[in-house]
Symmetry: C2
Subunit: 431 residues, 2 copies
């Protein structure tokens, strides 16, 4: 089907989905869970096809592992759906209420964004997670998964569409597109699509951002920093830096650069090297680092590089200010951590660092929707507007201003016959 | 000065502005108010130059009226600054707090967006209002005003910069650019500017949206609707429709189309016509309207037109559903009002209409930051993300996720040695 027709169907569905009863959405989530359980064998069979084809096409072992979707992973997915069902209704919540005048009341009420386009990588469980978050938040969704997972994504999308539509969700709310050229068509559908969330490589996200008038929420680079301050507990600093770098290297919240205060560099760097050597991490250091430990020389390019690998760049800085300036210059504004016992340094670091996630004595790897307690995430945003960091249900919502009057007209206020009271109110919106 | 240098100065200032003390900001607002008072004569003189030049250039009377900035308007501006001072500090507010585990706490804390580019029309008081909202929310701002107000804008920006910087606000936080080609340069500064808020004509806003990678917050069209339901109080409907259309025609929240339920059209339309005739409103109606009152025929184009004039289009609809479908098809998603006594119809209208502001028995002209009690506004947004409707202080803020740990690493949770507690907390963020 042509992409703009499919997008217009999603838009059409999104209108009535915005007004749908909470119980119908939760019933649909339950129906999806039951259908996934009942059709586990079919899903595993489709996934097996994808795995076999991808093996033949020499997909790397880590990607094959991510592609695999077996009974135990399906069970986890079903558990995720159940916890999503239990979350309170996010739509229609009164965010604020103001009495503008007698019988003239203004409410700011949460509502869905509309139609979300999500482009995601090879993990098939992402399809269920993203579409269920969209359903719970009353958004229609257009999904494009990794081509490796073609068959798995197809059966999952069919199961979700069938189960949810039978439960009363408007037909067309979930749409699956399959090719890269479909994505290009989707980028032109600004009449129907309200937000695009691309996940994937830096180049790909950048491409999306440069080729659409539709707002994009996401992150391109993930250049995260750990700053080891002069008042750091050095053992803690070694442990946190090692975890930030090595716990999982192929992800956006892994650290790429460690900044070390010069007054503890002599003592800290050999300890850090000993720890990173256990993971065979390749180290690139500034001149001062090179004078203390055996590392390759770092170039300007290293400060700008997201290795996504067992590689790290190291810079010795002469002050907290220099560390902050380096991070604000080179960071992708994702996640940065300071290791220190000095509360003044923490306060300065946290207020001056212009990144979405700023930590004190904790690993950058914590930046994740599940770990944050958001239930799940549709992606991580380094945008400066709408939503930052892991984006869960809340990032899929916006608000409407709803006003109840009794024939109120502006002339009366412009003429001075009436004046506004502007009283904050605790009322919840109701008709 | 080159625009990208000026933008980089604003970016630089925005970093320390994000961490500045509340008292310094309020002192600066007070200093600005005092300076405006002390320099009233100079401002009026500069404004007189603009008025004389614009008169010679045959600027229309309504625009000349908007351009005029005299002592009494300056006094109003100063009162606005004083009420902004009294508002609570918007930056650093804890939006939510979660205990992830023992000694591992996550906070969502409000922070400024960074650097805002605002392009506004001829009213010089807009310059003070916009820059003071940016200051209170700790954002740096790049301003481009109407060329008619060149001299007035220049002296105002100088007064604000001097007074605020003397009070301790980082130099460079407010920048004024003057030409259309400066604007084009600004649109390329996505490295330094985080958000653009354009105010002005539909074509101009559309141009900005199509020519920048920087996120844009604003509205192009303002095609607002009044729907007169079958259960409307007809006198109220006449009054609200007349106010929505005629109270001020040259603005985005004026109504352009009225939809009338067929069962009351026969009685309502002559009353409406009698009222609109007093303002010499030109009426364009559908065939059913033409059969009841003397109007010009409306074409498809009329439903898509923002007249910004004493003109209105009228359509008779056979149901609430038809009214909702018409609005969702033709509206610019700004403001729509339903006039009815039927609560079921209100509930349906408010949940299905996909616009930022949806009213019941009230004039569309209420859509405004001051009337909403937001203090002031930097503009009105028809975006579907970040902020909708009148955008005040809140729309100039975003948040950071701040985490306090004690050496916590992700390995411990991945290995199952530790598990998350995810307890909601009432704590406010502090070091």
């Amino acid at each position: 089907m042509e992409i703009h027709i499919l997008a217009s169907e999603a838009k059409q569905a999104s209108i009535s989905l915005a007004a749908i009863d909470s119980q119908i959405k939760n019933n649909a989530l339950q129906a999806i869970a039951q259908a996934l359980k009942a059709k586990t064998a079919d899903i595993v069979a489709a996934n097996k096809e994808d795995l076999e084809r991808s093996e033949k096409e020499n997909l790397g072992a880590p990607l094959l592992k991510r592609l695999k979707y077996d009974a135990s992973k399906i069970k986890e997915t079903i558990e995720g759906l159940t916890s999503l069902m239990m979350l309170p209704e996010p739509v229609g919540e009164t965010i604020s209420a103001t009495e503008l005048d007698k019988d003239l009341e203004l409410f700011k009420v949460s509502c869905p964004i509309g139609v979300i386009g999500v482009i995601f990588e090879s993990r098939p469980d992402a399809l269920v997670q993203i579409s269920s978050l969209c359903l719970k938040s009353s958004n229609a969704v257009i999904l494009k998964g990794g081509s490796e997972a073609l068959k798995t994504n197809k059966i999952l999308a069919e199961i979700i569409a069938e189960a949810s539509e039978k439960a009363g969700i408007p037909k067309g709310w979930i749409q699956l597109i399959e090719t890269r050229s479909d994505v290009n068509e989707m980028l032109k559908c600004d009449e129907f699509i309200d937000l695009i969330i691309p996940r994937g490589s830096n180049e790909f996200v950048q491409y999306i951002m440069n080729n659409s008038n539709i707002p994009v929420l996401g992150h391109a680079d993930g250049i995260c920093h750990v700053y080891v301050d002069k008042d750091a507990d050095l053992d803690m600093a070694v442990a946190v830096t090692t975890d930030s770098k090595c716990q999982y290297v192929a992800v956006c919240n892994a650290a790429e650069t460690v900044l070390v205060h010069e007054s503890i560099a002599q003592e800290f760097l050999p300890k850090l090297k000993a720890s990173l050597d256990k993971f065979n991490v390749e180290m690139f250091g500034c001149e001062k680092t090179q004078a203390i430990i055996a590392v390759k020389p770092a170039t300007e390019q290293d400060w700008k590089t997201e290795y996504l690998d067992y590689k790290i760049s190291i810079k010795v800085v002469s002050s907290l200010d220099e560390a902050i300036a380096h991070i604000n210059k080179y960071s992708s504004k994702h996640t940065e951590s300071i290791i220190t016992k000095d509360k003044m340094a923490v306060a300065k670091f946290m207020s001056l660092i212009d990144s979405g996630n700023v930590y004190w004595n904790a690993s950058t790897r914590f930046c994740d929707g599940f770990r944050y307690g958001l239930g799940a995430e549709v992606g991580i945003s380094t945008n400066k507007i709408h939503a930052r960091g892991p984006v869960g249900l809340e990032g899929l919502l916006i608000y409407k201003w709803l006003m109840k009057g009794n024939g109120h007209i502006v002339s009366d206020y412009a003429n001075g016959h009436k004046s506004f009271t502007h009283k904050n109110s605790k009322k919840k919106f109701s008709i």
